[in-house]
């Protein structure tokens, strides 16, 4: 091996070590696709549920007249949201664990901790913000707000994993902001942001990083 190749190899190795020790690279593209499928399924389900309650076109833009109905719908929506979150997290964790095993990266190390902390801070703030919206009965702004804060969380966490997450974050923020001005279409924006975008970015990441592995 020539001297030049030697030095090139050194540089390559340095780069890999820096990446491997500071970024969480086990995040699987399939995780994103799985989470996206959960998102779309939940959006479709919610659509039918709201139609059944006779709310589809008025929900989010008008206040409820019937307090009983309001209570029931909000409780059920929160329930759907919680179940979706659990399913999405579970499937994302499953595929990521599988990939971590394959690339032999430990699942719980410094990089994971940093990723989680940096993601949870904006996400936690966003969660409380959305609870406040719920409290003030500003239902129409909740879906857009979740998108914006989720985007911030991704943007913040992207330093510790693949760069693609950064662009996913920006996409979610932009979608959320547009949705803010289109109250009443929260569910549609939500389906695009949490469903479609996860599938698109997950697919791209799978194609870029996981395909060969």
């Amino acid at each position: 091996m020539s001297n030049k190749e030697n030095q090139l190899n050194d540089l390559k190795e340095i780069r890999q070590l820096m990446d491997r020790s500071s970024r969480f690279l086990s995040l699987s593209g399939i995780s994103g696709v799985a989470a996206g499928v959960c998102g779309i399924a939940a959006a479709v389900f919610t659509h039918f549920y709201l139609s059944k309650e006779g709310l589809r076109n008025t929900f989010e833009s008008y206040a409820f007249i019937d307090i009983e109905l309001e209570k029931r719908v909000i409780t059920n929506l929160l329930l759907i949201g919680a179940v979706t979150l659990l399913l999405a997290l579970a499937s994302a964790t499953f595929f990521t664990l599988r990939k971590a095993n394959k690339v032999k990266q430990k699942i719980w190390d410094n990089t994971t901790k940093r990723l989680f902390i940096n993601m949870l801070l904006p996400l936690g703030a966003g969660g409380i913000f959305c609870l406040a919206l719920l409290h003030h009965q500003e239902y129409g702004l909740i879906a857009p707000a979740t998108l914006v804060f989720y985007g911030f969380a991704l943007l913040n966490a992207s330093k510790y994993t693949f760069d693609d997450i950064r662009y996913l974050g920006i996409t979610e923020i932009v979608l959320g902001l547009i949705a803010m001005f289109n109250v009443g279409y929260g569910l549609e924006f939500w389906a695009v942001g949490f469903g479609l975008m996860h599938i698109v970015y997950g697919g791209v990441m799978w194609y870029k990083y996981d395909r060969k592995g």
Binding site: N3, Q7, D10, L17, M18, R20, S21, D109
Partner: protein, 99 residues
């Protein structure tokens, strides 16, 4: 050959030492075992290279405890970070100039 190697740092001639510095550049501090796993080297090997880097003043060592177990963490000093950057720069220059 010689003039090209001007910026090369003797402390980084060894691959393991260069690898240790690479990891420390992007992590505030890192403990012995994590470093060992990442570089895939033996205890003794890692210890001797870290000691060498400590002697040149490129790495600082902090000994602490987690419960009763010792937990030693390593950090790159400012001097070490500067030396590492210089070394990488000259590596790049070397590669550029060769063709």
């Amino acid at each position: 050959m010689k003039p090209l190697l001007n910026g090369f740092d003797k402390a980084f001639e060894n691959r393991t030492r260069l690898a240790i510095m690479s990891v420390l550049m992007v992590n505030n501090s890192i403990d012995f075992n994590t470093l060992k796993e990442m570089l895939d080297v033996t205890d003794g090997n890692l210890a001797s290279h870290i000691t060498a880097l400590e002697k040149t003043g490129y790495v600082s060592v902090r000994k602490g405890f987690i419960g009763k177990k010792t937990n030693t963490t390593y950090t790159a000093t400012q001097e070490g970070q500067k030396a590492f950057r210089n070394h990488i720069d000259s590596l790049e220059n070397f590669i550029k100039n060769i063709d």
